[in-house]
Amino acid sequence: MYKIVRKQELAENVDEFVIEAPDIARKAKPGQFVIVRISRKGERIPLTIAEKDPEEGTITLMVQRVGKTTFHLSCFEEGHVIPDVVGPLGKPTHIEKWGHVVCVGGGLGLAPIHHIAQGVKEAGNRITTVMGFRSKDLIFWEDKMKAISDRVIVTTNDGSYGMKGLVTDGIQKLIDEGEKIDMVITAGPVPMMKAVAGLTKKYNIPTVASLNPIMVDGTGMCGACRVTVGGEIKFACVDGPEFDAHRVDFDELMNRLRMFKSLEGEALKEFQKKHCGCGRE
């Protein structure tokens, strides 16, 4: 049983959970994730570890409400327990002292990016964070990213805060300023990662993307998380979740993420019909 020690709403539809999981907290490294199951009939969903505190024995998960499980999880309060949390899974981020590293996170992609940026900073790199959101009210963790970054660029699609535009505009700005970039690490929606990869490829900047395919067991057994990288089949849960972004087939990944969309929509509708008491619609 994994107790929720703290919970807060970070932005519209995004919750932060601090969960008691000492064995996982002790082992978690940047780039790794857990698989969570929240009820007896529940599904297994992968969630990135955004932070860990080995002393407190906790991990921090960021959860965006998109389907039945994440909506249901948002009804869980402090003191509740989550029946199943397993991890840390996946390969930790490969970290070197590269020089200037640009960490690019969009929306919930900030979860992996925060943990990775911490590791990259500890390895002695200079960090610029580019964080992108649709608009001002969706922004979270700007302070946390500022605390570990040498510079932070916030972009919003509608220009309601920071720089108007997409994360790629943020990266372009750095390039135009003549900044030498040694490495880009990105996480977020697949179209965003694809765009980042497209831009950095043009300038020959090595780029790593943290992928988020569908998973079931998360330990290399089911093959659901397969992605094509450089023409080869890779399993994100054991070979990844991070890969050379210039070699990832993002279109295929986008398509595979759609596989259960209609069924998931059905499940969410059913759930919302039954649960109106927890304050969510």
Partner: protein
């Protein structure tokens, strides 16, 4: 030896009719009644050579337990089996008996072999109904053993060692114990209830099970070695093999383990009551000819909306690795067999699989596996109209447990290398068995390895 007439035909095990059983996931076989079991048990001639015992990887005292059934001593029969095999209700259902005990049965030389598997399941089920005897345990030795994986191998090794007085902890990666018995084998062949029931023995023996615990990740193998006096690795299968053909990653194309895990472990056939969905179209092709392929095909047959299910296999039915009984059941349930057929391309539309281009095959000379090698017949390509494809062509050993371990000898396809007599690995105090040393194998093979390993671990601990 007194001459006695041998009954050539076995008593068939009552089964539910195919048209009824494909509507649900309840067990296909109803099992023997006490009367039928006694009648079948009497077919055993109690031959002195007992080849059946030799043919059993865990050496169940087969003639002895069958004699007890013939005498109506059903509980005693179950306890006789349990001297060597703690999982009679499971093994009686899923062991490939035709290649093992029943394959060498003396009665089988003149008629049907004695239905050893069905009798074993009967005895196990009977004892469960009247109350399972608590197992005996030796005095505590103070030694601690870690077992990685709670499938058939892990359960068997843990039980053997706990009986000998060692303190055993099992580490399971999933949220439920049972391994392949739960996620991989469908309920119509092995109900999950039976697995949970037979797992009770571990509780009775004081074995601790840590769920949601991945060795290689949550704790490394090295850390386990520091904490425990010995380790048995029974982490099973990993990474499914994929066909390297166009369209493999289209939506609607699954690996068998994903498909079976969604339905068996996660309850996807009960979606949306259960949260995990499984998408299936109207026409499902299952690639492969093993037991897993049969399990997938028969599972698909039972899912809502599915109209046709094909088994697509590149050799002929004679070379199929699946059990005869599974093939027979699949056919009864209306699965269509397309043998000597190999997929060459998955055809997609809007990102979803809508068809499969296949080529017909013919058999030439035997290859290194001893089976005749299939070769494509040029120009015989055709398109099979399908909207769901499941690959059941095998898998490699699970790679995670070996991550970052120095000095563990690993073979060329990722399997842990062991001494076949003791299941000892190249690391001191570490033993391994089941799919992680063989690749895809059987439940009873894993149990056989586990018993060998348990004996070797016991010896190792006493000397330590």
């Amino acid at each position: 030896m007194a001459k006695k007439e041998i009954k050539k035909n076995r008593i068939p095990v009552p089964e539910r009719p195919a048209e009824e059983r494909i509507k649900d996931f309840n067990e296909v076989k109803l099992g023997y009644t006490p009367e039928l079991a006694m009648e079948e048990a009497k077919r055993c001639i109690q031959c002195p050579t007992q080849p059946c015992v030799e043919g059993c990887p865990v050496r169940v005292p087969i003639p002895q337990f069958i004699k007890l059934i013939a005498e109506g001593k059903f509980v005693e029969a179950a306890r006789k089996i349990k001297e060597e095999n703690i999982l009679p209700s499971i093994c009686g259902r899923v062991c490939p008996q035709e290649n093992q005990c029943e394959g060498v049965c003396v009665v089988g030389k003149i008629g049907d072999p004695v239905a050893i598997g069905a009798l074993e399941a009967f005895a196990g089920d009977y004892e469960a109904k009247v109350g399972i005897e608590k197992p005996q345990k030796d005095e505590p030795t103070g030694k601690k053993v870690a077992v990685v994986g709670s499938g058939p191998g892990g359960i068997t090794c843990a039980a053997d060692l706990a009986k000998l007085g060692h303190s055993v902890t099992i580490f399971e990666a999933l949220h439920e114990p049972g391994g392949v018995l739960i996620y991989g084998i469908p309920e119509f062949r092995l109900p999950n209830e039976i697995v949970y029931r037979e797992l009770e023995i571990l509780k009775d023996l004081g074995v601790k099970i840590k769920l949601n615990y991945v060795i290689g990740k949550t704790k490394t193998l090295e850390e386990l070695r520091e904490e425990f006096d010995a380790v048995f690795i029974a982490s099973g299968a990993g990474l499914p093999y994929m066909l390297k053909i166009e369209g493999l990653n289209l939506n609607g194309v699954y690996a068998a383990n994903e498909f079976l895990t969604r339905v068996n472990l996660m309850g996807a056939s009960r979606f949306p009551d259960y949260d995990t969905p499984v998408y299936v179209g109207k026409k499902v092709a299952v690639i492969g000819g093993g037991n897993t392929a049969m399990d997938v095909a028969r599972t698909a047959k039972r899912l809502k909306g599915v109209e046709e299910v094909y088994i697509v296999y590149r050799r002929s039915e004679a070379e199929m690795p699946a059990r005869v009984e599974e093939v027979h059941h699949a056919k009864e349930e209306g699965v269509i067999f397309k043998t000597l057929t190999n997929p060459v391309k998955f055809i997609g539309k809007d990102g979803w699989v809508v068809g499969m281009e296949c080529v017909r095959m013919e058999l030439s000379e035997p290859d290194e596996s001893g089976r005749r090698r299939p070769v494509p017949i040029e120009g015989s390509n055709f398109v099979l109209d399908v909207d769901t494809v499941v690959l059941a062509i095998g898998q490699g050993p699970n790679p995670i447990v070996m991550e970052g371990v120095d000095g563990l000898e690993v073979g060329k396809w990722g399997q842990i290398v062991v001494d076949p007599e003791t299941c000892k690995t190249s690391l001191e105090g570490v033993f391994a068995g089941g799919d992680v040393i063989h690749g895809g194998s059987t439940v009873i093979q894993a149990m056989g390895d586990a018993r060998k390993a348990a004996a070797a671990i016991h010896e190792y601990l006493l000397e330590k």
